[in-house]
Amino acid sequence: MMRKTTLGVTALGAVLALGLSACGGGGSATPSQSGAAPAGGDTAKAEFNAALTQVFNPSDKKGGILKFANAGDWDSLDPADTYYGYSWNFVRLYGRALVMFKPAPGKESSQLVPDLAENLGTPSDDAKTWTYKLRAGVKFEDGTPITSKDVKYGVLRSLDKEVFPDGYTYFNDTLDLPKDYKGPYKSKGVNTDKAIETPDDQTIVFHLKQAYSGFDYFAQLPATIPVPEAKDTGAKYREHVISSGPYKFDKNEIGKGFNLVRNDQWDQATDPNRKALPDGYEVSTNVNADDIDNRLLSGDLHVDIAGTGAQPATLGRVLTDPALKANTDNPTITRLWYTSINGNVKPLDNIDCRKAVEYAADKVAYQTAYGGEFSGGQIATSLLPPGIPGHADINPYPSGTDNHGDIAKAKEALTACGQPNGFETNIAYRAERPKEKATAEALQQSLSKVGIKLTLKPFPQADYYALYAGKPGYAKDNKLGLATNGWGADWPDGYGFLQQMVDSRVIRDSGGSSNISVRDPEVDKLIDQASLETDTAKREPIWAQIDQKVMDDAFILPGLWAKSLLIRGKGVTNVYFSDATGMYDYLNMGLQ
């Protein structure tokens, strides 16, 4: 359960790193230096990490057009079909889900607050039934009042995975749907009240197959954004989503960009969360990534929407110039960059050989490969990132005093494994990701010091999980002992973070799972135990226990807890980092 990471915004090789196409957005491509207000520091003192735990440059001033740019492109603008983190962040400008993460800096952002609903969900029937009351007076952009039927329709259509293949399956998996229900297009007229009831226009009731205490997390998913059935155009809805939020689509050219303008049907009185400051948004997609950085620094652009931070070429420029550095933030996000150690490949079936890999890896080289201390991340000693509840500081395989690897311990482990002179195996990585290539090269170097000889095996990104590293048969036959990997949580929660990464039951023979190495029935058992545990205080320690167990098994070589170097756009108000989204919160930004 994870948003596709968009870090690999590449097409082939480095060309892609350079970035992609674009409609530069007319005048915005001119090297004008005057776009920003003269002084960014008038209302707030620009400091490194100033927007990490508090609102930087707070203001209620309205007006202006916020300019966003994306080095890649949305998977889809349709709320039923989007699974990118920045998209979930941004969708709230044109759509209102039942619930949302609190628009507040830092840790506070992990709290859920009602949005379209008046309150958070009311559980009944042992958390198998969840009821939400909608706010009165909320309207679509065409003036039609929003009812609970529109919310229900939005959720139901998102279940059609033929039309919306990109999205998540949380609702497909948990709602008590009629057998073989395929969404409102194919299963027209099928009564779905068993799953979602709408007793009146303001009330919506969800019925689950199993008790689930965290349903409010589902209620914040974009799929609960209301969709008017009469205006639904299925796969083409992404071209013009009917807005329920403060902004609506004006012009939308998929592949190039789009504009949002104010939605005059949106009423501030119905919305305690949104400030709706700018008069509109101008978004360009497929823009050269280095260009985005340069335009951010010159003030020609306000936000790099992907939220993954500065490009390597920009690092030197920003970090060595105190004035530029003062306009950046360097948060740790809930993502782990790691390397899977495949126990199906000899001699890594022997736990001591796996441990040798854990000890020998040069973590500093791993860090530089991913972008260094600021843009790469913090050296990880276990799976759970510090931002996830349940994180415990453990370090089962200390990699020497200076994190360059512990040769002596690694050799001991090799001897215990019966391979005192080392062994040969392969490391898989995604060819289009220069950082993974650098990681593979770094591991090849550091493991060679204890005699473990790695051969690099790049695979096309599109097929990495489906056909190669993630396909158990292929990985075994081709001796892919190691595989670079990465994982981030949909929201800061142990289940979302760990389940897809370590549950062996997600591994399929046909390939495609993110977990490609952890096979431990005890871990599976612990996951089941945790997901049934409704008491948070009892649940969180189980995540730590799973973390410890997987580390003891040495199925995963943790690399880094990711960090990103975010550049604050010039003249942008209300900038703050939100833990929930792992990037700046796009909801309430404005212009000076």
Binding site: M1, M2, A11, L12, V15, L16, L18, G19, L20, S21, A22, C23, G24, G26, G27, A29, T30, P31, S76, Y83, R157, K161, E162, V163, P165, D166, G167, Y168, T169, N172, D173, Y185, D232, T233, A235, K236, E253, G255, N286, V287, N288, D290, D291, N294, L297, E432, P460, Q461, A462, D463, Y465, A466, L467, K471, Q500, V506, R508, S510, G511, G512
Partner: protein
């Protein structure tokens, strides 16, 4: 003449058919031979945590369960006769030529291609004008002043021009003249403004790619023109023309250049045809959203309908360029008869 054109057009269609079959084989057949199943192929086109069921649905929807010949037939039929597409609440008619729907975005490929075409055409035509003018002019002057300093300097630069990889010159020019550098006079990579939106911005956004691309070609054309000129100026008819008492200017431009230009015309047509089908390296280097960039992105994402579409469009331009060149040739060179 007309029968010739018709025959050539039929041959052209046949060639496109061969190209499409081979493309199809590379992208659809080879993975199967390597052991991919319908489901593992479908995994590419669904979210990363898709359930087994989701994958099954996608495989069915994308038609992977049909025999390959049926899949190809469907593609070919779409181009000739159009196709129906179920977009959820209803069925949409995708009129011919229907290149199908992207496996990833589920949006039709053809409008996408049409959308990209102006970028590539702007790039190719703009660069072509520059290199033709610069290359031929340099070549003529070099030939007339053979051995002079200009000749030697121009030919050295030309030789350097053909020896530089475009992805190197492209990046260097971007770094030096863009990215907000002091010398910046051009748009950074990745910006494109359509001509009809704003001609000035259009030129501004393309000036660097034009120059970089034209440099590469101008070099070749200068060398070509020079040697062509040298050769024609030695021909008997030039001597005759001179003997008739024509001015040197008339001899050079009316008789000499005409003879030298014929082979250049051929090569120009073919080069332009190839470029129209996507200047892959230039577009990648400058992040221009043209056909070539589209091709690379499509391959990276294994978005097969896009790959098929872009290959056919590229091949179409080459075939058409060949035809046009042959026809023009008959006009320019009276010795050629079309049969």
């Amino acid at each position: 003449m007309v029968t010739y054109i018709i025959r050539r057009l039929i041959w052209g269609v046949f060639m496109l058919a061969i190209v499409s079959v081979i493309t199809f084989a590379i992208f659809f057949l080879v993975p199967r031979l390597a052991g991919a199943t319908s489901e593992s192929l479908a995994t590419r086109y669904v979210g990363r945590t898709a359930s087994a069921e989701q994958v099954k649905i996608a495989a069915e929807k994308l038609g992977f369960n049909d025999p390959l010949i049926v899949q190809y037939g469907r593609f070919a039929k779409g181009i000739v006769a159009g196709a129906d597409y179920d977009y959820g609440p209803g069925v949409e008619r995708c009129p011919a030529p229907c290149f199908g729907y992207s496996f990833l975005t589920r949006l039709p490929v053809w409008p996408d291609l049409l959308n990209r075409l102006p970028v590539t055409i702007s790039l190719a035509l703009g660069a072509a004008v520059i290199w033709l003018v610069a290359g031929v002019a340099t070549g003529v002057v070099s030939a007339l002043r053979r051995g002079s300093f200009f000749d030697r300097a121009a030919m050295s630069i030309a030789l350097a021009g053909v020896s530089l990889p475009i992805f190197f010159t492209g990046i260097v020019s971007l770094v030096v003249f863009s990215y907000g550098r002091p010398l910046a006079f051009a748009a950074p990579g990745g910006s494109f403004t359509p001509f009809f939106d704003n001609p000035a911005m259009w030129a501004y956004s393309l000036i660097l790619p034009w120059i970089t691309l034209a440099f590469l070609y101008a070099a070749g054309y200068a060398r070509l023109t020079r040697s062509g000129m040298l050769e024609t100026m030695n021909e008997d008819y030039i001597r005759t023309a001179r003997a008739k008492g024509l001015t040197e200017r008339v001899v050079v431009f009316k008789h000499g250049l005409r003879g030298a230009l014929t082979p250049i015309l051929t090569i120009f047509g073919l080069d332009l045809g190839l470029l129209m089908g996507g200047a892959v390296l230039t577009e990648s280097t400058f992040s221009l959203p043209g056909i070539g960039k589209y091709a690379i992105d499509a391959i990276t994402n294994q978005d097969l309908p896009k790959v098929m579409g872009v290959t056919l469009v590229a091949a179409f331009f080459v075939v058409m360029a060949n035809l046009v060149v042959d026809l023009l040739y008959a006009v320019v060179d009276p010795r050629v008869r079309l049969t």
